[in-house]
Amino acid sequence: MTTPRQDDDLLSATQALLRAHLPEGATLERTEVNDLNPEEPGYLYLRYAVPAGAPLEYWAHWGRRDHVGQTTGQVSVKAKPREASEAAAPEAPGTTAAVPPVTPSPEEPTGA
């Protein structure tokens, strides 16, 4: 479960990461939060309008490092260390603080 603030943080960090990869004049025209864990590829959908050509699509998620996959459109944003207040809060039984590793699934065909 994420808060709007965490999604805003992810969006800001993604935009910063993409700055070096986007064509000149590209502008963010749309974002969508998908019904996934924020650590799963595909979580945050971003669409950039570009002056010439088709809009560019990206998906951002919290990961272990900063990375932009120009071919796949997947953007991994390094998760921040938890804030002190958050870290001090007691955890619910059975939960862990660590971000669960994302297990890659085999790719399936996508119809065009």
Binding site: D35, G42, E57, T110, G111
Partner: protein, 242 residues
């Protein structure tokens, strides 16, 4: 006992496959456009430049349609508005489409996607027109731009054989006028929306009659009236599938 359990399991598997969506849910998947610019879409190889949907997102789409398990090659996550028609990778444009349902499946939809792409790139229709057509109803678009859907039409519709009712099966008496006064010859459906053996032709709420053989929608149709023959249904003012 084991044989019975096996039969039940096989029956359930068949039911899951038969329940596969043939058309997208308009709320979950209304369709979404990335571009309508023919200077972009009609460039050979355009679709290869568009991203691939992350697998985790595909899994979300399956879950949203209630598909919790599937066999290899049973479905694809399809773009309702195809990439070759300028569709996007947004979740609003994705739905699980069966390869295995008959007569309508992903292969059939591919044909109308190719046709609309060719028409739009030739300038016969516009891309917004093509996008609207396939997002509204890919089946209707197929009929409009290609012709009768597989499994429909007079050439492929086998005649209905009227079977005598099985012994002990009560056949409701013919009622007249219960469905708007045009149903002379109609038989009320049985509980659950099926039709009796003596009047197997189902008429749907939309006023379309479905035949028990050669019609992929027959089993899923809840009849509001039943007829002995398609001719009787037609005479009552209903139409067949296109």
């Amino acid at each position: 006992m084991r044989v019975l359990l096996l039969a039940l399991l096989l029956g359930s598997a068949a039911a899951i496959n038969l329940a596969a969506p043939v058309r997208p849910d308009p709320v979950r998947t209304p369709g979404d456009v990335l571009t309508s610019d023919p200077r972009v879409i009609c460039v050979p190889g355009y679709t290869k430049t568009v991203r691939n949907v992350p697998q985790a997102l595909k899994e979300q789409v399956y879950r949203s349609y209630g598909i919790l398990s599937r066999e290899d090659g049973e479905y694809e996550i399809d773009h309702l508005i195809a990439l070759e028609l300028g569709g996007s990778n947004s979740v609003r444009n994705l739905w699980p489409e069966s390869f295995k349902t008959q007569p309508l499946n992903a292969h059939v939809k591919d044909r109308i996607e190719d046709k609309l792409h060719a028409l739009a790139c030739a300038g016969t229709i516009s891309f917004p027109e093509a996008q609207r057509a396939i997002a509204t109803s890919w089946e209707a678009a197929y009929v409009k731009y290609i012709g009768p859907l597989p499994g429909s039409g007079p050439a492929s519709t086998p005649p209905v054989t009227t079977r005598p009712p099985a012994q002990g099966t009560p056949v409701p008496s013919v009622t007249t006028g219960v469905l708007g006064g045009r149903d002379s010859g109609a038989v009320p459906p049985l509980a659950g929306g099926s039709c009796p053996a003596g009047a197997p032709v189902k008429v749907s709420r939309r006023g379309i009659y479905h035949l028990p053989t050669g019609d992929g929608n027959y089993d899923a149709t809840r009849a509001r009236a039943c007829f002995a023959t398609p001719a009787a249904a037609k005479a009552a003012g209903y139409r067949g599938i296109r």
